[in-house]
Amino acid sequence: MLWLSTMAAPAAFADEPLLGTIEVRGAPESAPAVADESAFATVVPIAEQPGELLTLGDVLDRASGVSVRRYGGLGDFATVSIRGSTPGQVGVFFDGVALTRARSETVNLADLPLDQLGAVEIYRGVSPLALSASALAGAVNLVSRAPDGVPRFSLLAGGGSFGTRKVSVAGSAGRGPTSGFVSATYLGSDGDFSFEDDNGTLQNSSDDRETKRRNNAFDSVEVLAKVRRALASGGAVTGLTELFANRQGVSGIGAYQADDASLRDLRSLNYIRWERPGFAGLPLDLASTGSFVFERERFRDRKGEIGLGNVATDNRTYTGALDNLIASRIGRHALEGRVDVGGQVFTPEDTLADDAAGPDQRRIRFGLAAGDTAGYFGDRLLVQPSLRWEHLRDDFSGTSTTAGQITRAQRGRTRDLLTPRLGLRLDAAAGVALKANVARAARAPNFTELFGNRGSILGNPNLDPEHGLNADLGFVLARDRLGPARRLRLEGAGFVAVIDDMIVLVQNSQRTSVFRNVDRARTVGCEITAGAELFEHLRTSLDYTYQDARDESGIPARDGNQLPGRPRHELFHRSEYRRDEGRLFYELSFIADNFLDQANFLLVRARAIHTLGVEVDVAALGRTLGAGALARVPFVATFEVRNFTDNRVEDVAGYPLPGRAFFATARWAWEGRAAPHG
């Protein structure tokens, strides 16, 4: 899809990839362009088998306009928010295939390993037409590594604090028009970091103690295989299969740690994509993607340690889709269109209940979209209107078991989501672009909100979608060279996001809660992103976000409060001193005062998390030192100290985050020569 989008973009900007991308950290020299000309977007290239122990949450948290809330350390549940949104308002995609589920849009970032990715695309305030579904607040697209036909093999192994261990192996090869890439990563940790436990007695410090996180270990494996075959017609067929399996303990809140609760996840993502430029001899580029995603989640809390009651669920989600993107250039217009159809089935099961199988829940989705990128004044001004229409039909196979809240007539409902957008981009001067966007988007209620669960949550089939209005205005400045600086880039944007009819869970009786459209939130802010290479060896970047995210629900105890988990100031800085022999890097993550609750009673004071690391290319070092023995050691070793000031903090009340941690990895790589193209 990126390929198509790039093909369809006006040619004037094709040679200025910096205007559409930013390199946040060391990795490939060239980053892919974003799939949208006017959107404020960040593309984060992911180094092949990064030696640093990074997660997707870490990568997202560094980008301006993005906040990640973590429920613990490595492997623990983590969610993403864009411009003050809720996690469910952010669309998450893998190579354009939607990962958000109708059961719950919130995607656990911990289930999305980083190593197999070539880049992470972050779209703030918009979901471009290159993606198959709309999203209320923005979108994250995980782009898998592209096979290039060069034979390679690499092995990485590492470990560190809290029993963390990682092994990753990757290989790629090509023959004639076919190239492939296979990788597998194991990541695990005991997760037994220390934290301050207040024993649940806030007014009594005499029983506070330092203790270790228990039942917090995890073991995860991800395997990905991708094959691409170039077609004689100029197009290509790409197939990908990804398998992710995770087994972990669920430790619960710090004051009362569960010893028995556990979670197992399995995801199988598969797609085949056919790309055909110049279809039927016409100026028409097609890309069709057929995908199937299976997810299984088994949660066990047989002793009722996490919540009230004993639970053993086995939930499965089946998702299939056929997404089609059409692009054409006619005169000054780069046109895009979409025709998408898909379906999803969610089958819950509570194995402890007398009647174990819950009612199936189904969603059928049909989407049409059209957009234009029209160039004026020699493509100096791009006008980008688009409209997306999505039709959803949700079905519930049963009636509810509690209080009879779902009637037979309410079991099947349809909803239509309309997402209009207008984007502008003005090439004001060489390397300077002004951008503006205004978009209205919606989030349809999910299955939990519509149909409830079999316990205490009542469904509300009459819910309206959440609606949001996003607008932004800003600039991008890029210079290949300015004094001692190279690849200089500065981006600034102001934004406003208003979300209405937000769906919240309201306790409406002694044992039941119901979802209602009652909430409203407004976020105003600005984002600044800057990056440059200085004096040849120093790379530096800065991402800063100011946001004033306010509750405008009209609920007396909350109205006007700062939204929890949305600090006013967030800053990420990275500096890297790089030579052939390796690199030294420093990172600072600063988060201003922040509340953990809607009432704004629980304040987390401003915090700064520091990371320091070093990477050594042993062979290069050996060559520099003239040490022949070292020069024959084809290893790259990385060592890092994360949170070296041992700052103990929480993102979510009751869920401690780890303090100081050490990690080290070693990577061995072999690269051959590409076979001649047959």
Partner: protein, 380 residues
């Protein structure tokens, strides 16, 4: 040059390290409550993320002090001998003693075992009380005269597992001491099956002198339930008024009955859910012909009604809504009914005159976070 740049980075890191802090801080805005004069209402408030409390003199309800200090987000309160005992339930798992005479300061806050989900506290002596724990089979014996470091707080336990249903836990809920006996309601719900009743519920009877289980009273129905109120004997008959909801959302399996602690006998429903048209989730009895109840219908809508227990019919509806009406309590004057109304955009304490059901101004009384429970505490 390279070394200087590295040194600069380290210096910058050091400077930022010095200003970094972290840690969670209580920012409950609070305020200085008025000195206790006469009787005050103590209102537990919560949005189910965080909890607090508000206080106001019952004779001057507009003088409310909101968000006085932090409580757990799921809490109920009991008053005993001029002290408010807050039962911080699941996730808090402790008892918090608040002294009105000391400016509503916390005297002590002691854990009753994390994850145990305490539900009630009943007092047998100044140095002896019982804490029911919903997630445990053993009742806890505690010493309320403990100090701020909770020394000697836990005195022992009484095992009620013999009265549990098949899941091993009896779901002990409300408790009261009458004479030398402790009475504890046991809901006996099937926690493996969405907390549906697993049969008839019971009241455990415990000798407070020996701390031994001496018997059990089988109730007529299942699931004796009030969200926040505790058990209390009728001042005239000494009998316990027990409302049993059975399965929530079903209206043919519950009602209100008297339980005679002297004869250890449940007397059968004198009014049923069907008579009133809803699950009875709280009840206040004025006399044989005048009572109030919170009813929850099959559509999960709540209303507060006046009903005639003898004629078994609803006489009037005082308040209704599709949001959470938690607790009704009779004020210390015996003439005012207090309602904790959690209506999302207009929550507060509402008061009604028992004489004519008229709602009293100001209404609702804003308590900051929405009210959950109200108790009354007399001045020193």
């Amino acid at each position: 040059m390279g070394r200087r740049r590295c040194a600069g980075l380290v210096a910058l890191a050091g400077a930022l390290a010095a200003c970094s802090s972290g840690g969670v801080e209580d920012r409950t805005p609070g305020g200085t409550p008025p000195p206790l004069a006469g009787t005050s209402a103590f209102v537990v408030t919560s949005d189910f993320q965080t909890g607090s409390f508000a206080v106001f003199p019952v004779l001057q309800p507009e003088a409310v002090t909101k968000n006085v200090a932090r409580l757990h987000s799921d809490a109920v309160a009991r008053e005993h001998d001029g002290i408010v005992y807050v039962v911080n339930r699941l996730g808090g798992d402790n008892i918090q003693a608040i002294d009105p005479a000391a400016g509503w300061a916390t005297r002590w806050q002691c854990s009753v075992d994390n994850g145990s989900n305490p539900h009630d506290i009943a007092f047998a002596a100044p140095d002896k009380a019982y804490v029911t724990r919903y997630e445990r089979a053993a009742l806890l014996i505690v010493d309320p005269t403990t100090d701020s470091d909770c020394t000697g707080f836990v005195r022992g336990t009484i095992d009620l597992a013999a009265l549990a249903d098949a899941d091993g836990l009896p779901e002990m809920d409300q408790a009261v001491v009458i004479g030398d006996r402790l009475y504890v309601t046991l809901q006996r719900l099937d926690r493996r099956n969405f907390f549906r009743p697993s049969g008839r519920s019971a009241i455990a009877v415990i000798d407070v002198a020996t701390d031994t289980l001496v018997g059990a009273i089988d109730l007529t129905g299942a699931n004796p339930f009030t969200e926040s109120a505790g058990l209390a004997p009728d001042p005239v008959t000494g009998k316990l008024l027990v409302n049993e909801v059975g399965e929530l959302g079903r209206l043919d399996d519950g009602g209100i009955e008297w339980v005679d602690p002297a004869t250890l006998r449940a007397e059968g429903f004198f009014v049923t859910e069907q008579d009133l048209g809803g699950n009875v989730t709280d009840v206040v009895r004025i006399d044989d012909h005048h009572a109030y109840a919170i009813l929850l219908d099959v559509e999960a809508r709540s209303r507060v009604v006046r009903f005639d227990p003898t004629a078994r019919r609803v006489a009037a509806t005082l308040a209704a809504g599709d949001e959470f009406l938690v607790d009704v309590a009779l004020g210390p004057d015996g003439a005012t009914l207090y309602l904790t109304d959690r209506t999302l955009k207009r929550p507060g304490i509402r008061r009604f005159a028992v004489a004519d059901d008229a709602e009293l101004a100001p209404s609702p009384i804003d308590t900051g976070l929405a009210p959950f429970d109200v108790v009354f505490v007399a001045g020193p």
